[in-house]
């Protein structure tokens, strides 16, 4: 861990420059004549003044503070922080992709359009859907697109009373948020103890005002929703549509498909399941897929193949419209396409098998030391309910902070909300047995420290540049920008 902790403004020295201009050879003009004062900045502009080597050192130091899958194990539950193969970068940086301009004529970008067309087809095959739009730039935008499609579908049928979306209480926070943004009211239903849909609660919530149900399978507890066929039947009988949040797709690729379970709309996170960059701005990509009856409502344009030519079809009168400038985050699509081709169908099935095996391995080894609320075989992730010792003075937060001292990114904590003191662990398939064992050893060691020397946890982290932050202050009075003293 790099101890450097300065801001670029703190190393600034008045008058220091990293450039040298030649003498001015044009006449000075009066700025007032060029730009009216009302349009000009009234206050002094504050910029850091540093030399070139200072600048380079500063940002190099800062860049080394990043923690990512390239630097260490990152078992952040529900986020699928898997390794991103470097061949993805090689392909995305080929000038024939990277040097394209989005305004180029279609006949000059046939390869790019073909890639998008093929990728849509592959994503459809993986999910058992009929068509995909690659436009959404993130998972949440994929959700929004999917919900807008559901809304457009009901309204096209002349059914305007379906204003509500059902979301289970274990859902990702984005689900109710997206439903709200799409103009729906959210109906929350209580899950069973093991995080599954409570069929009776669902039945009670279904009526002719329900536009659809948002669900992830496996559930947020990492457990397969066994009643999915019945759930789909109930939702469809009530006239609703079934939405699949692809956050947990990594658990089921090549094993089962949301389309076969009865889902009408899905979104994937290419930055989770399909090894494109995650965090730090990604950028993300959240393609939205639909069954045939919803295809007319997909965002436009849609890449279509006419004879041997690929074209962007804008003639889609029922489309919900355009969601993103140009064609989504194209460079990310190239990376995901590369990944799918690299793995092949068998490889993707194996991905899910290994992701599930790795999660179960850690779960089994940790359940003697941490509370496992639902003790059963999990899918790609599992949720612990804090330390086994209920009398411990250490909290889940303390455990997470102590992990930092051992060089691990902590798992997701205090989510899902239905599990108290939750610690949500998702190792992914790309970790070696040695990495899993080392992490397990550290987790067990921390649980022992909690009993024998709780101060070690309460004072953690001690090895990081910034020690324990005051989360209340950070939430209540955050300092978001540097200001000159």
């Amino acid at each position: 861990m790099v101890k450097y902790d300065q801001l670029i403004f703190e190393i600034s020295k008045e008058g220091r420059k990293g450039y040298a201009f030649p003498g001015c050879k044009v006449d000075n003009v009066n700025l007032d004549e060029m730009i009216p004062s009302a349009l000009r900045r009234g206050t002094e502009i504050i910029l850091p003044e540093v030399s070139e080597p200072q600048l380079v050192r500063h940002y190099t130091q800062v860049s080394m503070k990043n923690f990512g899958v390239d630097t260490g194990f990152y078992p952040l539950g529900s986020c699928t922080m898997k390794y991103n193969p470097k061949i993805n970068e090689d392909m995305a940086s080929l000038p024939k992709f990277s040097a394209l301009h989005p305004h180029q004529e279609e006949r000059t970008v046939q390869g790019a359009l073909e890639l998008m067309h093929n990728l849509s087809g592959m994503l459809s095959e993986i999910g058992g859907m009929d068509a995909f739009s690659l436009q959404p730039a993130a998972g949440a935008q994929g959700e929004l697109a999917g919900l807008m499609i559901i809304k457009a579908y009901h309204e096209k049928r002349g059914d305007f009373k379906r204003t509500k979306i059902i979301v289970p209480d274990s859902a990702h926070g984005t689900n109710p948020a997206s439903a709200h943004i799409a103009g729906f009211d959210v109906v929350e239903i209580k899950s069973t103890k093991d995080g599954a849909i409570d069929i009776e609660n669902l039945k009670a919530a279904l009526n002719d005002e329900i536009a659809g149900l948002m669900l992830t399978n496996p559930s947020t507890l990492g457990l397969f929703e066994k009643n999915i066929v019945e759930i789909a039947k109930l939702v469809h009988e009530a006239g609703g549509q079934l939405y699949y949040d692809g956050a947990n797709l990594n658990a089921i690729m090549g094993q089962t498909r949301p389309g076969d379970m009865g889902f009408d709309v899905v979104h994937y996170n290419l930055h989770k399941t399909f090894t494109t960059p995650h965090g730090g701005g990604g950028p993300g990509s959240g393609p939205v897929g639909v069954k045939k009856h919803l295809e007319p409502f997909l965002p436009k344009p849609v890449v279509t193949k006419v004879g041997d030519t690929f074209t962007l079809d804008n003639n889609r009168p029922d489309s919900i419209g355009r969601l993103k400038s140009f064609n989504g985050n194209f460079g990310i699509l190239v990376r995901a396409y590369t990944y799918i081709l690299t793995m092949g169908a068998e490889g993707l099935s194996r991905v899910s098998e290994m992701a599930v095996l790795n999660a179960n391995y850690i779960q089994e080894k940790l359940k003697a030391h941490y509370t496992l609320p639902v003790d059963t075989i999990c899918k790609h992730e599992f949720v612990l309910a804090g330390l086994k010792n209920e009398l411990s003075t250490c909290s889940t937060l303390d455990v997470a902070k102590r992990l930092l001292d051992h060089g691990y990114h902590p798992p997701t904590i205090y989510f899902p909300l239905i599990v108290p003191n939750a610690i949500m662990i998702e190792p992914t398939e790309t970790e070696s047995l040695e990495t899993l064992d080392a992490f397990i050893d550290v987790m067990i060691q921390i649980s022992k420290e909690a009993d024998e020397n709780p101060e070690l946890l309460k004072n953690a982290p001690t090895t990081t540049v910034i020690r324990r932050v005051d989360e209340v202050m950070a939430a209540r009075s955050p300092i978001l920008k540097w200001e000159k003293q």
Binding site: Y414, F415, L417, P420, E471, V472, A475, R476
Partner: protein
């Protein structure tokens, strides 16, 4: 976990305390503990008429943001403005630091809620 006798409790971990014709509404110690350090309380507007089980505000902690649901239908007649400056008051004593004061539309609605004993049993089952 602290549970106060004489209050009415909801399954969503709010409490109601009758004070003459009015009633104070707050969140329980169980809820405050589950939430952890509270950083923000969004209070309802005075004069707002809110149905039972409808959202009357949001409470945000370092862990999560949660809706608060109105235990019984009523009209908000006062809010605890101290919480705007110091939301951690809820953590220090959730029964003393009420969220809002309401005029209950129909006192018979209170019969739908749990008493202290029932609420204690409910919490045990939840945990």
């Amino acid at each position: 976990m602290k549970i106060v006798n004489g209050l009415y409790y909801t399954q969503d971990h709010e409490w109601v305390k009758l004070e003459g014709n009015a009633a104070l509404v707050g969140i329980t110690d169980f809820a405050a503990h589950a939430l952890g350090s509270i950083v923000f309380v969004e209070l309802p507007e005075v004069d707002a008429e809110i149905e039972a089980e409808e959202n009357f505000g949001t409470i945000e902690s370092v862990k999560a943001a949660s809706d608060m649901l109105m235990p019984v239908t009523g009209k908000v007649i006062a809010v605890n403005e101290d919480l705007e400056n110091d939301p951690s008051l809820v953590n220090s004593d959730p029964y003393e630091n009420w969220i809002c004061k309401i005029e209950i539309a129909n006192k018979a609605d209170l019969d739908e809620l749990m008493n202290a004993e029932e609420y204690e049993a409910f919490c045990k089952e939840e945990a």
